[in-house]
């Protein structure tokens, strides 16, 4: 059979291409531009080739930031995903209380990032904050401006407080889509609570959980505002994650070349991880077939 060739469809894509060009490609090109040149102001540029990339690749500072970043993302995923599932499982399935729960769960998601940061910044202060003051008086050394562990704990707890709801809501949606017959069949088969979770709930939640993990990973990998407000990246460089480091480099030290190279590598890492996720997810779907 002959397939008719029709190029008109490109016209339909044109507006999107233009939009993407303005919103993504052009700013990105600026960064690319900086990343391969050196400048000393006065709008004078010198060709630097891949020098900045090379420098960045051998920069201990960047590797440290990347390490901290990966550790942070891993920790919050390890806490938020199981916790979110647990919360979703314990939420009522229907009725008045289900709606109340949903509203309560949605609340933290509605608070702006910097407000969250400010809340925890004050909450954790040893002089006036409820948390910090209480802990300090209980004899537990807690001062996030000085102790590395306290700083990390604060940033992590803050993120968990802010974002576990998102995982919980997504998992809840997944659970809601399971027909009652599955639970009835499980009762008849005398399946344990764990088996019900393992063989019914988890497989049915798989799709939404992948989305939750992807969203939480991307978001945590790019985290900036909250730790910036709470710890400012300290004590020392202990909570200086990639974004914070990048801003320090670009705006604090005005090292535009290295910062641009850093940005591009940062972007590529995120793109790579996205691609891996996408491939894994589509493979899973393929394996599942049409059902």
């Amino acid at each position: 059979m002959e397939k008719t060739v029709n190029q008109k469809a490109w016209l339909l894509v044109l507006p999107v291409l233009v939009l993407v060009a303005f919103s993504a490609v052009i700013p990105l090109m600026t960064v690319v531009n900086y990343s391969v040149q050196d400048t000393f102001g006065n709008n004078k540029f010198f060709w630097a080739g891949l020098e900045w990339f090379d420098e960045m690749l051998h920069s201990e500072r960047m590797w440290n930031a990347l390490g901290r970043q990966l550790l942070f993302s891993a920790i919050i995923l390890a806490i938020e995903v199981p916790l979110g599932i647990l919360v979703a499982l314990s939420m009522p399935k229907r009725g008045f209380w289900a709606s109340v729960c949903l509203v309560l769960m949605a609340l933290p998601l509605l608070i702006p990032w910097n407000v969250v940061g400010t809340i925890w910044q004050i909450f954790g202060r040893v002089d006036i904050g409820l948390l910090g003051y209480t802990l300090e008086n209980l004899g537990i050394p807690y001062n996030y401006t000085q102790h590395l562990f306290a700083a990390w704990a604060t940033v992590i707890v803050m993120d968990v407080w802010h974002w576990t709801s998102l995982v919980a809501l997504l998992a809840y949606a997944g659970l809601q889509s399971i027909p009652d017959a599955y639970y009835q069949a499980a009762k008849i088969d005398q399946a344990s609570r764990w088996s019900v979770f393992r063989y019914i709930e988890l497989p049915k939640m798989q799709g939404v959980l992948m989305i939750a993990i992807l969203l939480r990973f991307m978001d945590s990998f790019m985290i900036y505002t909250e730790p910036f407000v709470v710890t400012g990246g300290g004590p020392g460089n202990s909570t200086t994650f990639l974004s914070i480091d990048l801003v320090k480099m670009a705006l604090g030290q005005f090292d535009l070349g290295p910062a641009a190279a850093f940005s591009i590598m940062y972007f590529l890492v995120i793109l790579l991880i996205c691609w891996v996720f996408y491939t894994v997810m589509t493979n899973l779907e393929k394996r599942d077939g049409v059902s």
Binding site: M1, E2, K3, T4
Partner: protein, 362 residues
């Protein structure tokens, strides 16, 4: 002249949903698309409606090429298996909604809605919301919405599949009546042969994205052009048996041979497949010519007035539908009888060679 499909096909990637199909549907006819799930009924309907663009071929509406035209610009109505209504609107508003979109005057809308509601027996429920109605009433509401538009083409995709058996039976009787009054082209998809027969009109049998036969419903039923059509249009499924012809005799296995009569005489020697419908199997010798087969009786099912017998005959599974309630011993051989006039002869590739004599007389 009305709706013409001219070599229409639908291919996505490596998958062919509809092989090139040509079909002519006339004004004021009921056309049934009969085939199992995934045989292409819905794909074909979407092509007819203009919801999908064909990969090849043309779609003509009253002689005008409407191949690329959007569904919104054509007068098409569609009813689905799921009861699709606007839940927040009353039945009256649901029925009126397509007319409001057309910009009709309030008085015209009112009279059309009332006439359609009357036809669909919805008059007492006009002020209720769809979800307060029974399944049958909800589907009537969806049907009313399709009919009120006065569309030239009404597509019904298994509209009764989600209803109770008895409700289905009632609507099956009503739909042909409604259709007779509308004068539109009706296309009705179903998986059930019985439904096709009750609706009458024309039937197109579908198998793996191909229309195997199209014609007046009883004719397709009685004179299927191949074994596939016969299988699709038979519930319980048609029974098959390998036979051979030597000289002027047909050998039916079990030492049965029948003198080749009529058209069978011209048949070349060789192997064929005999097909016969379950309702033509008997457990008593009913005609002088009847052939006798001994088969193993596996299961009987009693419908109250009839008995289904499930037989195994040399590795072939047969079903018989016999009159009356019979208490037969299971797991035992049983003699069953078949009149040669009820037998279709197919070539080994499935093409019909000689139709059953009774069907030619009918």
């Amino acid at each position: 002249m009305a709706l013409v499909l001219d070599g229409i096909s639908k291919v996505t990637g490596a998958q062919t949903h509809i092989h090139p199909t040509s079909l002519e549907l006339h004004k004021g006819t009921m056309n049934v698309l009969l085939g199992p799930t995934l045989s292409g009924k819905t794909s074909l309907m979407r092509l007819m409606a203009g919801l999908d663009k064909p990969s090849s071929g043309r779609l003509l509406w009253h002689g005008e090429d409407v191949t690329g035209m959007r569904v919104q610009d054509r007068k098409v109505a569609m009813v689905y298996q799921q009861f699709i209504n606007y839940p927040s609107m009353t039945v009256y508003e649901n029925i009126a909604s397509p007319l409001r979109l057309m910009g009709m005057s309030a008085a015209e809308i009112d009279s059309s809605v009332k006439a359609t509601a009357d036809l669909m027996k919805l008059t007492p429920m006009l002020s209720r919301k769809p979800l307060e109605l029974s399944g049958g009433q909800q589907q009537r509401c969806a049907l009313a919405r399709a009919l009120v538009k006065n569309a030239g083409l009404v597509l019904l995709d298994e509209p009764l599949a989600n209803l109770d058996y008895k409700l289905r039976e009632e609507l099956r009787v009503e739909i042909p009546k409604i259709f007779e009054e509308s004068g539109a082209i009706f296309v009705y998809a179903t998986t059930e042969p019985e439904e096709a027969l009750l609706l009458g009109g024309n039937t197109a049998t579908l198998w793996e994205g191909r229309i195997t036969q199209f014609g007046p419903t009883p004719e397709v039923y009685r004179k299927p052009i191949d074994a596939t059509t016969a299988r699709v249009f038979s519930d319980p499924p048609m029974n098959f048996l390998s036979i051979s012809k030597t000289g002027n005799k047909l050998l039916f296995g079990d030492g049965q041979s029948v003198a080749a009569a009529g058209k069978l005489r011209e048949l070349a020697d060789g192997r064929y497949v005999a097909g016969f419908r379950p309702n033509h199997v008997e457990v008593v010798r009913h005609t002088a010519d009847a052939m006798k087969f001994t088969a193993l009786l596996n299961v009987t099912e009693i419908t109250g007035s009839e008995t289904f017998i499930h037989l195994a005959h040399h590795g072939e599974k047969w079903v018989g539908l016999i009159h009356g309630v019979h208490d037969l011993e299971l797991g035992q051989p049983i003699d069953v009888y078949l009149d040669p006039s009820h037998v279709y002869i197919f070539a080994e590739d499935g093409k019909l060679v000689v139709p059953a004599a009774y069907a030619m007389a009918a």
